[in-house]
Subunit: 288 residues, 2 copies
């Protein structure tokens, strides 16, 4: 593959579902003149309960869509996919830059956490079990304790649109209580939102644990992407507002209905395109 | 395919994940001498947010495992899969009997609901949008109002093991409040647990709505299967305790960890076999 010279190619944003829309939102704010293609692999979500090998295979397969359409950069806007799939995606798409959310998340921790206490990463089961944050943080700050805490229930809660209020705060308290029990009075240096669904709970979490910085990696992802476009001199050359194409591998009605929770603006089902992945074509042929 | 004459073949139980284990539990209680193979398509769960076509395709593909291993009957222990996939599965496996959970659920409603008020079915989004319960109930009792109410959040809550207590009751109250608002004071004739995950909440729901029958179709599924085996004269001929094989298409560690919530007894990861579905073999070949 040759390096993209067309500055007005879109940037591909990949997620297993809809959580990555919180990242897209941050990217649109920071890079308003860029065009984006968002791809949610809704046919095969959630990635968090699947094996690393399956996640890698799914991500490589889904991102073929970016290959077909042409993109100048790719953001893996999914913590669970970044760990097992980022190196494979970088290799496949080379020299097109592919960035994930883990390293920006780690940088966000290092610049935003309190100077003392363990780093705490709230994440899905998949992200926790693959220890992508622990591995990256241990290298950069080996003296500090790191805890990766599973909160998969928050994914369902976010998609229900239950993001604030007393009941949500009580759910957060119950989810976080075993974490604080484990810490035995030690105060975390931060709570990193290590799943792209979780930024919708940022305010509610701050109310439950008011003295702990709650960090969303998305702003750092946007900064890193901006630098990358600048270094490679592939920033959009237009001053017009950028566009977004929304693609999903299944359930476009639901995608359009749930997306505004993460995106902050409305979507109509006709704005979401259904894409057939190669593997489904294969299976269809086999079944017929 | 020829009709199974070997009475000691197992019965295949299929679900998209782990909820169907509540059905297996009921079947083991009612038919203690039968052998079972439980297959959870954990690589592709949840089915509830996917399209009907995708669900049908997944179910047909996954149930090939039963074809390969030999079964004398199949239970689709998943409300979401029963609607779109049951007729296709019955056709594919003919003359091996294949039963779902919708019709037993409807029979359970007709025998267990109060004589007045709308029938209410609590279900996942998929089951609600395909209206399998409404369609079946309308035929049998056209005069009665039927409401299918989405409660997808309960799936995540069940898998978290949060099944009882005050917080769970408050979550149930919030989930059910819009239903009661819609009913404007009318009392439901029953709440049918139209997702195999939901029986773990039966007690909590009864405490939240003490005067409404809460109905789990699983007992009726077991009765229907028992009759079927008897009619076809394929009941197990042994007096020994039956066995169960557990198969999952991904994440067997998680399967073993979460299964006891639904099953009522412990499972070790080595008791769960990972099965590769044909489609993943195909994709692997393509990726390499």
């Amino acid at each position: 593959m040759s390096y993209p010279t067309n500055k007005n190619l879109p940037i591909g944003i990949f997620d297993s579902g809809m959580g990555g829309l919180t990242v897209l939102r941050a990217l649109q704010n920071t890079l308003p003149h860029e065009n984006f293609i968002y791809l949610g692999d809704t046919a095969r979500l959630p990635y968090g309960t699947k094996s690393a090998e399956t996640v890698r295979e799914y991500a490589l397969n889904a991102c073929d869509v970016f290959m077909q359409r042409g993109v100048k950069a790719i953001v893996v806007a999914c913590n669970t996919a970044t760990g097992p799939a980022l190196p494979a995606l970088q290799e496949k798409f080379h020299p097109i830059p592919v960035i994930g959310v883990i390293l920006p998340g780690v940088n966000a921790i290092l610049s935003g956490a309190n100077p003392q206490g363990p780093y705490v990463v709230l994440a899905t089961e998949g992200t926790v079990k693959w220890h992508a944050y622990r591995d990256a943080l241990t290298v950069l700050d080996p003296s500090r304790k790191i805890m990766e805490w599973p909160c998969s229930l928050l994914v369902a809660l976010a998609e229900e649109g239950w993001c604030e209020g007393e009941l949500v705060q009580n759910i957060l308290r119950r989810l976080l209580q075993p974490l604080f029990d484990t810490l035995q009075g030690e105060q975390p240096a931060c709570l990193l939102l290590g799943c792209t669904h979780f930024p919708v709970f940022a305010d509610a979490i701050r109310q439950v644990v008011p003295n702990i910085p709650v960090i969303d990696p998305a702003t750092m992802v946007a900064q890193q992407l901006k630098s990358l476009l600048s270094i490679h001199e592939i920033e959009s050359s237009t001053n017009e507002k950028g566009t977004v194409e929304f693609l999903a591998t299944d359930g476009i009605e639901r995608f359009a209905r749930v997306a505004p929770i993460f995106l902050g603006y409305d979507l109509k089902p006709e704005q979401v395109q259904l894409v057939a992945l190669d593997f489904s074509e294969q299976r269809k042929k086999k079944a017929s």
